[in-house]
């Protein structure tokens, strides 16, 4: 039976509420990003408003319009992982492994507990370009598939991160990659939250990973989506600023450990925050041009799910990527939902660039670090508002202030939208 949108939403929540829901908490975080290789470094960069953007001159050889990119070193895993585990890991898989090690340590979870609790993994990832391209080059050259080696298939698949980490950490629960374009990481957290909330999983490793290389981003550069402000890399990513001219591609990986509140209390874990709401929607519109109503519905659904009012949200970590159209639409959407209360808004992409498949997860980690340390990270390079961002309460400088609830947006191609709300306990 077809139900109007509002009735459908009510019926979903009614169905969900028939069973007693579990509370879902965050007990661990790990990060490997362009603004730091661990939680401490990233916290410091966020507070200082440090940019992770630089130039990758090799991109010009591929005909890129812009060499701007997030700068990151590939971690050396020799000595940490055996050869069999390493050969299956592509670039973003290595980032994800390092971030996950830190998250598990942060959560105080050991291998024995992961197995006993039958933990799972839901990780956001939506490409693995380099292994695919290298395999095709080799096949064309050698005309022999056995010359590709044993790791190529495991590096090439979109599910590379979840498949590799589930073997490395001997996980026994849900084992799945979430591909939702630039909202992948956020949806992974949201879906993990749902599984725990309904008692289907006790503990899940959730997150998002993103490769940084010219091979994966040429087609995006070809859409003229990237900033060409190459003379000032640190100023190129300027979400909501009047003079923004495009996004800066970036990446890394972010992992969070989420578990049931009861389970976390039982094992004596430090609870870092509670996942309070998840909202999602699809624009049902243009493949690359965002709209306003899709994000509005996603934010409202997250608020409804959390049982919170707009005045309860202290801080919004915006999706805003620094594209002329996208930031304007999000500003209008935020204003439509939160115009009466005007919570603080910033886009950490001003420092990190656009972390794409990873962004929805990393930006929860960034916001968590702010909430833990009583500050709002700045939306650097926000010098002049445009007609839409002028309606928002954007933080251009670091603000020292405690806060208790944040909302994080992530949107992607195809009009996929995800909104998460996290609160301090």
């Amino acid at each position: 039976m077809f139900l109007p949108a509002v009735d459908r939403k009510i019926s979903i929540f009614a169905a969900l509420n028939q069973k007693k829901m579990k509370r879902v908490v965050i007990t661990g975080m790990g990060i490997y990003s362009t603004i730091g290789r661990n939680l401490d470094e990233v916290r410091e960069s966020l507070y200082r408003g440090r940019s992770g953007i630089g130039l990758d001159p090799g991109r010009k050889d591929y005909g890129y319009r812009s060499c701007l990119a997030g700068m990151i070193e590939s971690p050396n895993l020799k000595g940490l992982l055996d050869r069999r585990a390493r050969v299956g890991l592509p670039e973003q898989g290595k980032y994800a492994y390092v971030a996950t090690l830190e998250a598990l340590k942060n959560a105080g979870i050991d291998q024995d507990y992961l197995e006993r609790i039958q933990a799972g993994i839901l990780y956001g990832n939506d490409s693995s370009a380099v292994p695919v391209i290298e395999a095709i080059d080799l096949m064309r050259d050698k005309k022999d598939t056995t010359m590709l080696g044993s790791g190529s298939i495991f590096q090439s698949m979109n599910s590379t991160i979840s498949m590799n980490l589930s073997v490395i950490f001997r996980l026994q629960g849900i084992n799945l990659t979430v591909s939702g374009a630039c909202a992948s990481g956020s949806h992974a957290l949201g879906l993990g939250y749902f599984l725990i909330r309904h008692g289907l999983q006790e503990c899940i490793i959730v997150g998002g990973g993103q490769e940084i290389n010219p091979e994966s981003m040429g087609s995006f550069d070809g859409l003229s989506a990237f900033s060409t402000r190459e003379d000032e890399p640190g100023k190129a990513s300027r979400p909501f600023d009047r003079d923004r001219d495009g996004l800066v591609p970036s990446g890394g990986a972010a992992t969070l450990i989420i578990e049931s509140y009861e389970g976390a209390v039982k094992r004596g874990a430090t609870i870092l925050g509670e996942m309070a709401g998840y909202g999602f929607s699809s624009n049902g519109d243009h493949i690359s041009v965002p709209n306003i109503q899709g994000p509005v519905r996603s934010m409202q659904m997250a608020l409804d799910d959390a049982g919170l009012k707009t005045r309860d949200i202290d801080y919004i970590n915006a999706h805003a990527t620094s594209t002329p159209v996208g930031d304007g639409k999000e500003a209008e959407a935020i204003d439509q939902v939160f115009g009466d209360v005007k919570p603080l808004v910033s886009s950490t992409k001003s420092m990190t660039g656009h972390e794409m498949w990873m962004g929805g997860a990393s930006e929860v980690v960034y916001s968590m670090l702010m909430m833990q340390n009583d500050f709002i990270a700045p939306n650097i390079n926000f010098e002049n508002p445009d007609e839409y961002s002028a309606k928002l309460n954007i933080a251009p400088k670091t603000l020292n202030m405690p806060f208790k609830v944040f909302l994080s947006n992530a949107f992607g191609f195809g009009g996929t939208n995800s909104t998460l709300i996290v609160k301090k306990i």
Binding site: R83, R84, V87, D144, T146, M147, L148, G149, S150
Partner: protein, 82 residues
């Protein structure tokens, strides 16, 4: 290439690329002793092609049970290639 050179190359990539402890590498060691599984064979085929310029096939390996037999096989194959 004499037998010693062939053995050195093979033992070299087993210790360096496959990170097998040197004390495990001796002619009587089985693949299982060395911790080599079916996926590792795929990589061994790639390395042999790179080092010796010929391609190993599955049927070549049917009677190869130990590292010493593998040394012999590769030595004979590279001789016949010459």
């Amino acid at each position: 290439m004499d037998k010693t050179e062939v053995v050195d190359i093979i033992n070299g990539f087993l210790t360096e690329e496959f990170e097998i402890e040197e004390n495990l590498i001796h002619p009587d060691a089985t693949w299982s002793d060395l911790g080599i599984d079916s996926l590792d064979f795929v990589d061994i085929v790639v390395i042999i092609e790179k080092e010796f310029g010929f391609k190993l096939k599955g049927e070549d390996m049917v009677n190869v049970r130990t590292l010493g037999q593998f040394h012999d096989l590769i030595f004979q194959r590279q001789l016949s290639k010459q």
